[in-house]
C-alpha cells in the first residue's frame, strides 16, 4: 500500500519536472509546479505511514498507553501541513507575477520575454 502511494508521489514529481522543462507558458509552468508540490506532499505522507496505523489523535478509541505501533508518524504529517500552506502562498505569489506579466506584455509565453534570453 505504501509503495503505491510512493510510486504515485514520484510519478507526480516527475510529471511536474517534465512540465516545468517542456512547457513554454508561465501559467502551465505554475500548474506543473503545483503538481510537483503535491507529489512531494504525497511522498512525505507515504514515508510517515505505519502499517495499519491510525491518526495520532488520542480519544476513546486510542489510549495513550500502548499507542506506539498503532499510530502513524506525527512528524511528517506536521511537516506536510506546513508545506501545503507554504505551497499555497508561493502559488499565489507566482500567479500574481503571471497576472502582472500578462498585464504588461499581453502574453504569458516564455518565448516573448526577450530580456531573459542569453
Amino acid at each position: 500500500m505504501t509503495h503505491i502511494v510512493l510510486a504515485i508521489g514520484f510519478l507526480l514529481v516527475c510529471i511536474g519536472f517534465w512540465g516545468l522543462m517542456t512547457r513554454r507558458e508561465v501559467f502551465r509552468m505554475i500548474i506543473s509546479f503545483s503538481l510537483l508540490d503535491t507529489g512531494v506532499h504525497v511522498i512525505m505522507v507515504g514515508i510517515g505511514y505505519v502499517r495499519a496505523g491510525t491518526a495520532p489523535i488520542f480519544d476513546e478509541a486510542l489510549a495513550v498507553a500502548g499507542a506506539v505501533g498503532k499510530v502513524v508518524d506525527p512528524v511528517p504529517s506536521a511537516l506536510v501541513l506546513t508545506a501545503i500552506v507554504i505551497g499555497l502562498a508561493v502559488t499565489a505569489l507566482m500567479l500574481s507575477f503571471a497576472i502582472r506579466l500578462h498585464a504588461s506584455r499581453g502574453s504569458l509565453a516564455v518565448d516573448d520575454m526577450k530580456e531573459l534570453k542569453w
Binding site: 514520484f10 514515508i47 495520532p56 489523535i57 504529517s77 506536521a78 500552506v85 500574481s96 502582472r100
Partner: protein, 238 residues
Amino acid sequence: MMKRLIIILALAAIALGFFPLAMRISGDSGLTALATHYVEAGADELGAANLVTSVVVSYRGLDTLGEVMVLFTATTGVTALLVAGKSKSHKKEKDSEPDGDGRREGSELLATGAAFLFPILILFGIYIFLNGHLTPGGGFQGGVVLASAFLLLLFSDCRLELNHALLKGAEAISGAAYVAVGLLGLWLAGGFLDPRFLPAGEFGQLFSAGAIPIIYILIGIKVGSELTGIVDAMRRCS
C-alpha cells in the same frame, strides 16, 4: 529533437538521484526514535490530544512561526504586485465605468447561497481552530475555511469592498500576539513558544493543553485575514 533528448536525459538524471532515496524508504519500518518519544510522552508533556498539533505548535513551534512569516511575506508580495499603484488608475476606471469594472453580477442563486452559507462557514472555521488540539484541524485549516467564506461573499457581490483597515489590524495584532505568547513561554516556562505556562487542564477537554489553543486561535485569525487579503488583491487587480 536535441532539446527533447536533453529533457529526457535530465529527467533520467533526476530519477537516478531519487532512486537510492526511494529504495531506502520502507513503509512499515515503524516509528523513528523521535516520533516514538512524541507518541509516548507528548500527551503527558503538553496535554494535547492531537499529537500533530503538539508537533506543529510546540515541538516544532519555531517552524510554524517561520511558516507564518513566509505566508506574511507572500501576502505582502501579492499585494505589492497587484494592488500597489492601482489606486489612481482604479478611480479613473470607476468614473468611466460605473458598472463595477464591467463585471457580471452574481446570480440570485449564488447571492442567496452565499448569504446563507457565510455565517455557517465562519462558525465552522472558528470551530476548527478552537478544537485544533482535540480533533483533526487547527489554525491553518480553520483560517482557510474563514477565507473561503469571504471568497464566496466576494463572488456573489462584485461591488463589495472589504474593510482593509480591519483586515490589516487583525493580521498585525494576531501576529504580534503570537510572538508575545512565545515570549511569555520563554519567561514563564521552559523556552520560546513553550505552551506550558498556562495550566494543562483536563486531558481531552476544550480548556486544556496550556497555551496551544490560544496560539492556534491567533494563527487561525492571521491565516484567515491574510488569505482573504490575497483573494481581495486578486479581485481588485482585474
